[in-house]
């Protein structure tokens, strides 16, 4: 099974990277750009044959390691049910 975990900074946390990208887009002539927030995602292949709730498992990955909930929120999704070989 393949899952994806999105990790993004909380709204109240300053995102200097997003700010810099915002400035760069604007200087390229995309004047309509108002705000950019950068985020990251992780694609994870895992063996789900013993998992009753794979989505919950992905949440555990996020809580234990991938997201720091002091500054970040996360969202998980299942991409493919079977190994895409």
């Amino acid at each position: 099974m393949k899952g994806r975990i999105y990790v993004f900074l909380k709204e109240e946390v300053l995102d200097p990277q997003g700010k810099a990208i915002e400035g760069a887009l604007s200087s390229l002539g995309f004047k309509e750009v108002k705000k950019v927030r950068a985020c990251k995602y992780f694609d994870i292949e895992f063996d789900d044959k013993d998992l009753s709730n794979p989505e919950k498992r992905l949440e555990e990955y996020a809580k234990k390691l991938l997201a720091n909930e002091v500054i970040e929120n996360f969202k998980v999704e299942i991409l493919t049910k079977q190994d895409s070989k």
């Binding site: 200097p16 234990k64 500054i71």
Partner: protein
Amino acid sequence: MRATVVEFLGSNCDHDMIYFSKEVLKFKTEVVWYSERDLKNPDVVFLPGGFSYGDYLRPGAMASRTPIMESVIDFAKKGGFILGVCNGFQILCESELLPGALLRNKSLTFICDYVYLKAENCDSPYTKKINKILKIPIAHGDGNYFCKKETLKELKDEGRIAFKYVSPEGNIDEKWNFNGSLESTAGILSKNKRVLGMMPHPERACEKILGSDDGKLIIESLISFAENG
């Protein structure tokens, strides 16, 4: 005193810390590897600066989940003294031994420079002997301290802000808050004030020939606290 310096993959200020501990402070100094579990019975644990795990994921995130950190967390629970500097501070936050997080510097640039620090609460083990503005270097890209409003209030109410970035004269000024930290916070303490995390490097300001020996005052405070309470 007995000190243990923990080395992680990618620590690069470990030898500065070992020199500080062994040669300057004359501590009996042990060095332990991240994959070990035995801290070798120290009075104080030093978590050095550097780029553990290449800062992958988030600075300090991977290091905080290594075997030795389980022992460091136990040591903290038993009231042990821990000083985390720079990446060591990031590791302490990621381990939840200290609240909050260190974000990318506001300028998005790596900053290597001297900063001036004011000890905010002179009743902690690390600050009781500090009676002047300290001149200590920083070298980091992710030192922008952030925490929730409620956490900041708690830190202030409990006297747990150890150091703030100030001007050479000791005034709070955004110009001297290089990395954009919340309320110029440069270092914070745990609830029992025995765990200190700070972005500036006291071990790089431990002899006059380095440009400053103000960093020594922090550990001299600790020695005095450990001996006299």
